[in-house]
Assembly symmetry: C2
Homo-oligomer: 396 residues x 2
Amino acid sequence: MNAVADRSGLVEEIVTAIRATVGSGPVGLHEPYFAGNEWAYLKECLDSTFVSSVGAFVDRFECDIAAYTGAKHAIAVANGTAALQVALQLAGVRAGDEVLVPALTFVATSNAVAYCGAVPHFVDSEERTLGINSVALREYLNSSTEMSAGVCVNRQTGRAIRAVVPMHVFGHPLDIDGLLGVARDFRLVVVEDAAESLGSSYHGRHTGTFGLLGTLSFNGNKTITTGGGGAILTDDRRLARHAKHLTTTAKLKHRWEFGHDELGYNYRLPNLNAALGCAQLEQLPRLLDAKRRLFERYSAAFAPIAEVRLMAEPDGSRSNYWLQTLILAPAVAGVRDSVLAATNDAGLMTRPVWNLNHRLPMFKASPRMPLAIAESLEKRVINIPSSAQLVLETRQ
Amino acid sequence: MNAVADRSGLVEEIVTAIRATVGSGPVGLHEPYFAGNEWAYLKECLDSTFVSSVGAFVDRFECDIAAYTGAKHAIAVANGTAALQVALQLAGVRAGDEVLVPALTFVATSNAVAYCGAVPHFVDSEERTLGINSVALREYLNSSTEMSAGVCVNRQTGRAIRAVVPMHVFGHPLDIDGLLGVARDFRLVVVEDAAESLGSSYHGRHTGTFGLLGTLSFNGNKTITTGGGGAILTDDRRLARHAKHLTTTAKLKHRWEFGHDELGYNYRLPNLNAALGCAQLEQLPRLLDAKRRLFERYSAAFAPIAEVRLMAEPDGSRSNYWLQTLILAPAVAGVRDSVLAATNDAGLMTRPVWNLNHRLPMFKASPRMPLAIAESLEKRVINIPSSAQLVLETRQ
């Protein structure tokens, strides 16, 4: 009974540390914050009547995103999943291929692979960044694949492994150098899923700009939002043009004719949503600063609790601190659900990490490497309230 | 040279008739009109901070759409193409199936079939409604298919023909009774593409509610717009629930867990776009009335031009008159491009009908019935300026 008693104490300590940081009242996990030109730009967009697939805001949003991230080109699309689907297609992923994706990710990463008719091949994580474990991945690929005519082939399935999709979990950049090394040695195209990491950089360079293509999300729960939205990043001009083409029904330019030269998508970000995005992007530095200060406040509050690690940005990286993250020590993993229940009961919205994708029914037959670290993390990760306004608006 | 001279005269007469109807200045083909609660609802949405996949407006928009169309259920999604893709999937369309679609349609109809891994099988149109020619389709299916275990099978390809997608061209309801008869006799599921026909009814019943499922679009060029958006209509409660599930990443309800039980999509209409939609839907009766009056004005202007038919709503139907449509007599089909050039040069935006889908490169290998009428119409159809504000705002 002593162990159980200790654990109950831990739950209380965690609730108290969060409450001390965020103040009173009900607190969401991550809420949008509109304190800039959001109204003004939406009104301007409405008054222009250009609310749909064409307009000044969507062009500007693409320029602003490219300028902010340092990508040469940004293509604005309906959401992060659509961005990833099209990026994978542009990376050469075809039906019957395999694509390496972390088991520890939001389901959209794996879904996008499936939309291409390809098969997600699940990869383990590392404890430090929660991202793909490049060291373990290299060992695994060495033992389970062979190169055939310049293509990495899964020896067990005989399928080509065409690409790898590193995902920067909760905004924390993973070990990009390690990942790029593996990709180079096994001839894998890198498509970076930076859905959660707008504002995060690795050795001074923005996430999403290391792969041949990268993708962003502006869903309502992200650091900035367009309602629903996403973007494709690339430095390759030809790929950028093709991305724009594919996401606008592959329509050929003509004064009046409706020619379409390949199977395209209705994925353009509406100008209305882009208007919100332009205003939100102006606020991003301020939001990032607030989220960093929130991390510092949580750091102080959680410092005395030995069994809990508050996730900090990895060395050499700058994180956007999108979602603040507690990682329980393995010995106290059993209290996770008690912490989730106690915090949510107290009006503090928290959540566990996603169910590992290889256990979802539609991906049960997908190949995977040993996933020991991801499986351990799944039992120990808890996201806690992370909105910028917890710092920007005093709540006591 | 006489024939050419006659044709030039015709072009001038057409330009003059349009100009007399729409007044001076540059005139677009179809522009959104925001004169109601659009700004109030957008502001309310922004102030609520619920701009993304959850919120009061998206729920209300679904209720309003269901009430307006008479469908028991409406599911709001990111666009009409997404609506059709998911509706086809719910109708049982699977990879390797064939789906009957008109050759004369916007590319999205055929694309949605392809997204399911199925093959569009192209069908001819009728001169009167521009929609699927049910009489010719029946003859064709009688001669080229056979029933096998209750499934209509294409004798040539051996593939199952699972569904038929009637599309109500430019808002004019097609011969629904005839189509439903063919579908019944050949055991085809009907998925109605009502992307263009919000506000159009057939024998008093709203288009999109005759099939097992129907779909709408609220793109910027449609009668009402949400920026980008669409909806799935159905009377089947189980299908409606499944549609909502599939379009919200197939996430299972749980207090905090991220379970997904099948391959879903990130297709939910953002609350921000739904806010615009709620306001637009309030304006719909007024817009429809204006568009009908615009038709009457064009009717008067085009009455003296014998070689041109201004498309009127088919008998037994009420059309939304989404796009006003000229159909040139076959003898003067050759002037189409001259009319397009002269009108666009004069600041009057016009356009031809879509390139027939069976000639687009990605569908070149798709099966098709003889398409004589569609091929004739393709050379003779011209859409002319159709915005409601041409009537609602005096422009002289």
